[in-house]
Symmetry: C2
Subunit: 326 residues, 2 copies
Amino acid sequence: MSKFDEIIRLSGYSRATVSRVINHSRHVSPEAREKITDIMNQLNYVPNRNAVSLSTGQTHQIGIVMASTSEIVLSFLNQFVDIAMDYGFQTIIYTTRGDKENELRAFEDLRSKRVDGLVIVTCVNEPRLLKAYCEYGPIVSWQRMGSDEIPSVAMDQAEGYRLALEHLISRGYTRIANLFGRVESLNTQSRREAYEQFMQEHHLPVRTDWYRYSVFTPTDGEQALRQLAADAELPQAVLCANDYVAIGIQSEANKQGISIPDQLAIVGFDNTELADTLGITTIHNPIAEQATHAFCRLWAVLNKQQMESLLQPEPLKYKLIARQTT
Amino acid sequence: MSKFDEIIRLSGYSRATVSRVINHSRHVSPEAREKITDIMNQLNYVPNRNAVSLSTGQTHQIGIVMASTSEIVLSFLNQFVDIAMDYGFQTIIYTTRGDKENELRAFEDLRSKRVDGLVIVTCVNEPRLLKAYCEYGPIVSWQRMGSDEIPSVAMDQAEGYRLALEHLISRGYTRIANLFGRVESLNTQSRREAYEQFMQEHHLPVRTDWYRYSVFTPTDGEQALRQLAADAELPQAVLCANDYVAIGIQSEANKQGISIPDQLAIVGFDNTELADTLGITTIHNPIAEQATHAFCRLWAVLNKQQMESLLQPEPLKYKLIARQTT
């Protein structure tokens, strides 16, 4: 006799009731749940989770899709994994290395019900290709997708960028270089447009010759400043893709004897702990809160209901944090 | 007729053969595999992964257990996820926040076959409790466990620590403070013993009054230096738990006008990219290679065979990287 049949025999309940208890279904009387759980424990019975998933149609797993687990996405990832765990969901990480086929595996796993939902941190496939997968389960994105089918929890980075620009102009820095991330990303587009619009509004020069792309790491930052410093004219300020790039700029400026902030002002993005340690002016980006929003959206679809308190979270807001580099 | 039966009918192969193709079993002729795969594609047939797991007894998922996904574990995690994906395994992250019950969920998932194996990055439960789970699947640890049942891919940190000490002594720094991580971890014990033994061998003072514990982040490093600097006597050198702590020490020393390396030498640990950017002397720690070793061990057990080329990897070696802080 299998342990499952043993539980039915000992409890006196039907196969259906025992099954409901094992699958954490709500439609069971408290007495039945208690008695059956006790017997399960006595028999040291552990249901095979794959069988449970097959019968409930839910895996309680959510996939998270990203090119790689860089420092930049770490606080999003941490918060997402944490809150998902609080609500009984586990997180599977799909790192794609920016490869389209690798990335599609995550979406195929949604189709084949290995995961109940997906959150996209970064992706390289076209939204119009990915949105076909929405019929298999909820998909939410951190990266802005420009697609109604795949909602994004991202904030418009133009808003944060304008804070940085206002700060720089108010301190008299008008010749500004921009170090961007991925050239094709919507965030980069937003930042670039915010810069161009802001400068035009203030009748200041738009220095497209000081645009740099694919600047992500401290090493990228060091290299970018070496290039900028090799030219005849040095910018008065550098707006960085993130704080790690700003650290690279700061370090290279120190090496070259460029005085900060007199000869060169630096503004990072995200407000990581290291920006605080190293005194770097930056834009506070509520990344963890965006991860909470992402989970809430998935949860609401999966459970066909709103989360009680969680779906009235703080509104997401950028904030300028002025430190020694401006 | 189900799609599965349709495939049997159209292909002319038996139920067992079709099943083997769906479950990626090797015991199928190439002709059968090609014909059945073609028909699966024509019918747009996607097997339910939970059903596949139930029939094969493998989920192709590996759990990775850690307190949180800090920068320190990032390169281990990245490499593990990457190599696991290369070999057809997905990685589930269990972040436990150092909570024993949370942590046991991962081990219960091994028992209930949600994952095929586990890799422990950090854990708080006693090894003697955890080793009972080894009967349900392979478990490998990065953290040193002091248990034969759960093999560890960790290196003896005493070796790396001695490199740092030799370097410091050779440059004339003999009054040395130690900033450790978790007080109870075997790594901390190794480092502390290495320090005490080394100093005694060289007839130099063992400064237990300069031991600090639970120093993990840049902010922790800043605070530690503020405390050390408040005392009558400043150490000549600080050995840090990791590079992030070293960054905090470096930054705080700059703020206090303590000249590096004349008044204070700093040695980090791990050799992260930022240690390079900021010119911090450190110990290169082959973390990614240890993640490769961890996966290879799990893979060998799960597949009851050695990996061809992967199991003759480079031997793991620490290396001193001298920069401007010594």
